[in-house]
Structure formats: C-alpha cells, structure tokens
Subunit: 366 residues, 2 copies
C-alpha cells in the first residue's frame, strides 16, 4: 500500500473516524482504524461494535492495500503536521508516514483481523437535507434516558409515517418530539425504530458544517446514515417505544407566550437559590409570570415577567435543569407555554411552530 | 446599611473577591464575603486565612453598615441580573437585593464574626506597571513545586536588590527566572521573600486587563499587592529559598536559535509517541536539530529543523511537558537554546532577551 494525500484532508477524515474509538483492553484491534484503498480513494473505517464509521478521502493511490493502525496515535500525529503532502507507505505490517521534515513509523495489525462493519444495500427509505436533520436531532437527543434500566428509552425514536419523520426522546421526566415535514425524497412506508443516543451524537457531530443530503437506509437490526463521503452504520435498540403521544396535552387551561431570553434569565436567577433540590416554583397569575425559589440556609428570590396570561392562575414546581434544557432546544425569540394542573406535564414550544414540542413533568408539591 | 450601585460594577468586584472562597465546612463564615461601607464606597472583602482580598466599588451610600453573606450565591445571582441599578438593603441580618424585576433575600451573618484581614501600613517597597508585573509572574508561576514536601519551593521567590526585582520558581525538575528592570518607583533596600503560588495566581487573574501600577508593601510575615481599587494581602512562606543561581550555566558548549512555532510543532509530534514516559530525545548535529521518540507498542517518529548549530554535537533526553511549559512562557518568535552535557540543565531563553531564563533538567539516559 502506498498513497499520497493532503494533510488537511487526512486530518479531517481521521477526526471523523477516530471519535468512537475508546481504550479497549480486551480487543486491542478496536483501538485501531482500518486504512483501505477503494475506487482510487483512501477509505478509513472504525468501529466500536455498536457503531461503525466509513469515510473516504481523496488521494493518489500508487499501490493498493489495506492495514489497521492505532487510531489515536495516527490522528494526533497527523493533527500536528503542517498542511502539506503526506506520503504513506505500508511494508510488513509497518506504516511509514512522511510529511515535510516529519517522519513516523507505526506498528500495525493485519487488515484481515479487523471486525467487519455491516453493509446495508437496501434502497434509501428517506432523504433529508443535512441542516434540517441535524437541527431536528439536536432538539431531541438530550432528552433520551441515560439509565440502562429501560433500554428502549435510551435511544431516539424514528417514526416514518405518511412521508414524514417523527423523532422523539424521553427519560420519563421530560420528553421532546420533532416532526420533519421537509423530506427531500421518501417512501410512504411506515416504520418505527429506536436509534442509540450515542449514534445520534455522532451523526450530529459529523453533520456539523456539512452541506448536502443524508440518506437513511434500513438493514436487519441496523440503520445506515449515508452522508456522501461519510457513512455511519449503527445497531438498533430492540423493544417497544412507549406510546408517548397520548400524554401530550392538546388543550391548556393556562397559556402564556414569553421572551425566551427573559425567561432564561429569571430561571437562572432562581437556580442560584435551589442548589440542593433543583426545585423552583412557577406562579402564573393575571398579567404576571413569576419564578420563585428558596433555600432555608441561603435565602430566597422572586423574579417576574409582566405578560398577558390566557386562562386561570396556576402554581407549579419544576426541576430548573429540565426547563433550561428545553429552552436550549428552542431557537425562536418567543416561547409558548401551556399548562393544565400542578400534576400534569407542562408544554414548551417555539411560538408559532407546531413541529417541535418539549414536555416537562412537574415536581409534586407536598 | 442601604446602598445603590450598578450591576456591572458589583458583578466585577464580586468576581474578584469570591474566587478564593471554597467550601469551608468547619468555619462557615469563610464561605461569606464582607460588605462594608467605607469613605462613600462599597468595600467587598474575602479571605481564606492565607490570602485576603479587599476591593472597592462606587455606589450611592444611603445608610452605612457592614454585613457578611454567602459569596457564591450573591455572585451567581448578581451575574444573572440585567445591567441596571441594584438596591441593597440590610435589616436584622437579612440582605434584600432588588434589580428591575428581580428580588432576592439572603441570610447573613454579623460582620463582627468575619476574620480580620491584616492591614499593612508600611511604605511601598516598589511600584511596577501592571502589565510588566503580570507578564513576569506568568513566566515563573507555573514552575513552582506542587508538592508540600519542601514548602519553600511551593512559592515564587521575590528578591529585591539594587532597584531590580528578581522572580524565580522551581520544582527541582525545571526552573524559571525573570528579572524586572522596569521599576517605576523603588527603594534600594535588599529583601528576599517567598510568596505562595496561589497568591501569585490570584494577582495574575486580577491584573488581567487592568491598567495602572501595583505597589508592593511588606508587613510582618505578610505581603500586600495594592492595585488601586483592589488589594491582595497574603502570608509569606517561611524558609530559605535554595541558592539556585549557581546552577544556571553561563557558557554553553552547544548553542542554537530556533523558530518557536516550528520547535513547538516537532515537540508535540514527538509527544504522540511518548505517552508512557513523556520521554523525548533531542539530537543536535551539524546544521540539524532533531527530536525523536519511540514506544515499543506504537512505533516511533523523528522530526527535524535545519538550522545553524554553534559548538559540538549532543544528544539529550527530556520530559516533553517541561519543554512545552517553558516555550509557553517565551513570547518571542525565536528561542535560544544552550546546552553543555546530557547530565546538565538545558537553558531556554527568548532570543535577544536576557531578562528571562527557563532551565530544564534532562532525563538521564540508561
């Protein structure tokens, strides 16, 4: 194997591939990446047995071949090089890399020992613009559960239905749902599946500043996100996603629309006095949205926003962290809040946009 | 006590004062700051019994008084407020704070219980421009020892002599020395004292973007850094600072001047292959400055800079972290390196500037 490529291109591709690689002591080859020549390009692959990444970069292939070498070492070394031509040559399980006045030699393992990353040759189920997909995933991924006690809610629900894609995530304390209507190409097939949170985080990372479209294809127990020069293949989570839609209220006895920045400020101010329980109180009355918190040792505080309130007055308790998380997912200047009782979920939405909803369960007051 | 001040001013002063406050469980009043009215201004004080900070901010004093309240809570709350007028009122050990639509009430303790921060009324020993003092302290503070086994080298040496100030710090693996010649006002008194590293870090933090001059005054076992609207008072470290000057070589058998950026790059590249020992090898020969490293599991690398070398060829081993630390303290484009043998310290200096020197002990080769 002998290839020449630009430092900038190799650095970009290595950084995409190496992120899922940890420190695997039982199966050391998982600390490696696979370098391969394919159709006149360099193909770089990595896997943690749950997620696999393939990414291609342009270069001059002088001699075909394949090898696996330590991912973190190669990526760190290449990151430090000047943006010049890199020559890579492999002989007897040894990779030599030359760039300007830098030279390195890496101990490698045979490409044959590298785990197989599943291939999915099915036709795409759907095609979505990268920026739309990324924004939608960012709005829900943080609400997935981190606890393995209910594996089915540790992932993000993908529900393909009537040419739309519905995404949802919940940890049973809060829930986020986003519907993508802007599908570039799609089948009308109805499917429902659960993608691990870590996979979604990788997709969000790779999609950053990447133009174009992503094709989503399904295999047996696997999903493929094809972003052109990068593919992410992931296992799916088995199980039945909870039927969450029934708990999203459709009508509200109290409604208010607030400036997002002002709301963030008064929640953050209240957070200062809630450092043991994260508990803050929201009190809505005629023309007044108040946030209160208190700590017996420290003191208490109260902040308010004067605003028009539709419906009846209400008092509820929340974990302020869930409120801040939800507001971070809402990009509009105005936020709609809909409430019913101090024991039923509060609804947060971007004002005038019904494609996104964020639900928070209140804390029961004693 | 009743005062009015601007959010921006109060925020700035609280952030200066609260940084030294940790979580003290045995003496809870140390988690508080002291608010006091003095000469028509608000004085904010904090102490951890080793370092004391006094800082003054302008405001309208309607009623004099003094109180202590939880530092972190007050600072976090004020940080979140809009930049508007803040009204503070104290009644019965309770502080009420109002700003726009925000209101808080803090549980306080009596000002009488707050530890006394020592006063130093001596005439200043020296006056130095803030930017010069800050730069000089930054160049040495990172080299002080973190181990308490030899307390006298956990601080920075201040040596006042012949109208100059000589600063030095070492952890016995490396040593940094800076001489400040640009003294605005100073006595010719000779004094030598050791200031704790944490105090120096606080001074560096407070001096950031602060114009003007700092006066240094000495008390009994105490030192005062008077920066105008902020004072830092610290205990001194007792003991005799090692007579380090004898180990700084004055002549070199090998000398080289290198581009700082290129040198940083080749050291960082070598660091990738030294992740168990931090050991890298420097090899200097006719016209060639080489850095090499190897790891039996990963591989090896070699990078070089073509340059003029004065003197004989030499091979030495270093902990690369000490080299990177030293180069971070050198701001010039060119770096001078002077060497004598593989068992004697290497000298790094900004090219053409003899006021700063950074010494690194080599690792003995087997």
């Amino acid at each position: 194997m002998k290839i020449t490529c630009l430092q900038e291109n190799l650095k970009y591709s290595l950084n995409i591939a190496q992120n899922i690689i940890g420190r695997n002591l039982t199966l050391p080859i998982l600390n490696n990446i696979l370098l391969d020549t394919e159709d006149g390009r360099l193909k770089i692959s990595s896997t943690n047995l749950e997620i696999g990444i393939n990414t291609w970069t342009s270069g001059k292939i002088e001699k075909k071949g394949a090898i696996t070498c330590p991912a973190k070492v190669l990526a760190s070394f290449v990151n430090n090089l000047p943006n010049k031509k890199i020559e890579i040559e492999v002989k007897n399980n040894n990779l030599t890399l030359k760039c300007d006045n830098y030279k390195a030699s890496l101990n490698c393992l045979s490409a044959e020992d590298f785990p197989i990353i599943p291939k999915i040759d099915e036709k795409p189920l759907i095609e979505i613009k990268n920026n739309i997909l990324r924004e939608a995933l960012l709005g829900v991924v943080g609400s997935a559960s981190l606890s393995e006690s209910r594996p089915e809610i540790t992932g993000v629900l993908f529900k393909f239905e009537k040419g739309e894609l519905r995404l949802a995530a919940t940890d049973s304390f809060r829930l986020a749902e986003k519907v993508i209507f802007e599908i570039s190409k799609g089948s009308s097939e109805s499917r429902s599946l659960i993608v691990p949170q870590k996979t979604i985080q990788e997709i969000v990372r790779v999609l950053a500043e990447k133009e174009g479209e992503t094709k989503i294809c399904l295999g047996v127990g696997q999903i493929l996100f094809d972003m052109g020069d990068t593919q992410i293949i992931s296992r799916l989570i088995e199980g039945q996603y909870p039927d969450y839609q029934q708990i999203i209220p459709k009508a509200f006895s109290t409604q208010v629309v607030l400036d997002r920045g002002e709301l963030l400020s008064i929640i953050r101010a209240a957070a200062v006095f809630s450092n043991k329980t994260n508990n803050i109180k929201v009190f809505i009355n005629d023309g007044d949205f108040e946030v209160l918190s208190q700590d017996p040792d420290l003191g208490e505080n109260k902040s308010q926003i004067k605003t028009e309130v539709k419906g009846k007055k209400i008092e509820m308790n929340f974990n302020y962290r869930y409120l801040l998380d939800g507001l971070a997912n809402i990009g509009t200047k105005q936020v709609f809040i809909g409430l019913n009782s101090d024991a039923s979920p509060a609804v947060f939405k971007p004002a005038g946009d019904d494609s996104y909803v964020y639900l928070v369960m209140p804390i029961k007051s004693n």
